[in-house]
């Protein structure tokens, strides 16, 4: 649940990762030109084969994008990686579906292969792969409309992805047109094993390590605004070291082998000496609505920390802009700055629905005495006697409460998508470059 300045990602090793991504998609394709090659056919036939191979390689690399490799995700931010994962899948599926369509237009006699009862196995596997991909995309795009539970969808998503890729490779090897050389068959089969291996790494190998580092829930604290703070202490280990603003994937009730973990920002100070971590969780969905019922003493597992939504960059002041439960990473930043005795000015612009629903309201008031902190509440439904900011955090609110030049400050933005879009546009209008702000969308999964 994090974001890093994309521009930094684009200019530093994020750009390198893009080249690596393209290499993994295109190198196995162009390797087919080496060694013995079958006789060439028409341009469109060869093009359709090429996009079939590229599309499958892109689908395989989807496992790598969600394998939670810090080196991959940090330059971009987790939300951008997941956004890329979703959008690039549409292109990959379009390529895979276009592959047979072009072939059918070029060579109508191949249409008979659509009859899976009579078609050879290599064509049946192609159909299985394509149908699985289409089902996968339909379920991902319309999960809410199809009223699928998140956990059910997640398991189905993984099964369909493995079936689609395995069936696709069986189809390629079975057709054997380009994979005549044993080393080419080995290359593509090996790649498939590697892609599925990435899934095994996330779902089996990593949980084995996490299993050895359990946490015990020591307190479930009620906060304002339907929010609960889960306090967790490391059980038999030193705990993890996170930077303020980072997040972890949380699993409670079950083992870390459970398919679905939930990403939450740490809300506690990163300077806590005893390894204790806190996550503030608002009741918003299936999982979060039951968080208040987690018993003290419950075992929990945290995969983390992740994310580049953190302080530590040169800036004259920190501007924290939070909407609703987007306050949680900001609390971690504020608490850590307080523990470290950081005297730099901090402005928190905090959008909430009601005065009574402002999570951490009292603690923030207390923090104003410990830090050079100014808290500006922006209320959507303020009480009649409210004299403060009303509505939403806008460019005008920023202008009223921040000293120019605006580009010298470091901005942290976390909240609902609508708010994020509005703030990012407002910062653009204030000529704040993208390298000066971090944004975190908590609806990225």
């Amino acid at each position: 649940m994090t974001g890093a300045p994309l521009a930094r990602g684009l200019t530093s090793h994020g750009g390198l990762w893009l080249i690596v991504y393209l290499f993994f998609v295109l190198a196995p394709l162009f390797a087919l030109l080496l060694g013995s090659t079958p006789p060439a056919r028409s341009f469109w036939t060869e093009f359709s084969i090429a996009i079939g191979y590229s599309g499958l390689a892109m689908m395989g690399l989807q496992f790598g994008l969600t394998a939670r490799f810090r080196y991959v995700t940090e330059p971009w931010g987790e939300d951008v990686i997941y956004h890329f994962h979703r959008q690039i899948s549409l292109i990959a599926v379009a390529l895979v579906v276009a592959h047979p369509i072009i072939l059918f237009i070029e060579r109508p006699e191949l249409l008979g292969l659509l009859n899976s009862f009579k078609a050879p196995w290599r064509a049946r596997f192609a159909a299985l792969s394509t149908y699985s991909l289409i089902a996968l995309v339909v379920m991902a795009l319309w999960r809410t409309k199809l009223r699928l539970r998140y956990e059910t969808w997640h398991v189905t998503h993984l099964v369909l992805a493995v079936v689609a890729i395995a069936a696709g490779v069986v189809h390629m090897v079975g057709w054997s047109f380009y994979l005549g050389d044993p080393w080419k068959r080995g290359l593509w089969t090996g790649l498939t094993v590697f892609w599925i291996g990435l899934l095994v790494y996330v779902r089996v190998v990593k949980p084995l390590f996490i299993l050895r580092r359990p946490y015990i829930v020591s307190e479930v604290r009620k906060e304002r605004g339907d929010t609960w703070t889960l306090v967790m202490k490391p059980d038999g280990h030193a705990g993890l070291r996170f930077r303020p603003g980072q997040f972890g994937w949380l699993t409670v009730y079950r083992s870390p082998f459970k398919i679905t973990a939930h990403p939450f920002s740490f809300s506690s100070s990163a300077a806590a000496a005893d390894g204790r971590v806190e996550m503030a969780i608002r009741e918003l969905g299936d999982f979060t609505s039951n968080i208040s019922k987690v018993p003290v003493g419950q075992r929990a597992y945290i995969d983390g920390p992740y994310g580049a939504f953190t302080t530590g960059h040169p800036a004259d002041m920190h501007v924290l802009i939070a909407g609703g439960v987007g306050i949680t990473p900001m609390m971690s930043i504020i608490r850590t700055l307080a523990d470290q005795g950081d005297k730099r000015p901090v402005v928190l612009l905090y959008g909430s629905k009601h005065w009574d629903a402002i999570t951490f309201r009292e603690e923030l008031e207390a923090m104003e005495a410990r830090l050079d902190l100014t808290v500006v509440h922006v209320l959507e439904n303020p009480p009649d006697d409210w004299t403060g900011e009303r509505g939403f955090v806008t460019a005008d609110v920023l202008r009223r409460h921040l000293p120019p030049p605006y580009a010298d400050h470091e901005y942290f933005i976390c909240g609902p998508d609508v708010m994020m879009d509005a703030i990012e546009s407002a910062l653009e209008r204030l000529s704040v470059p993208i390298t000066r702000y971090h944004s975190e969308r908590y609806s990225f999964v």
Binding site: L26, L33, A40, F43, E46, A50, I88, E428
Partner: protein
């Protein structure tokens, strides 16, 4: 804004992959 840039990244990647696939086909024709 960041997602807009991410979208551009997706379009760039897709375009490169399609262009390189066309190059593959051309390479086959002139093989």
């Amino acid at each position: 804004m960041r997602r807009l840039l991410a979208d551009r990244l997706v379009i760039t990647t897709g375009t490169i992959v399609v262009a390189m696939s066309a190059l593959f086909a051309l390479a086959r024709l002139f093989d």
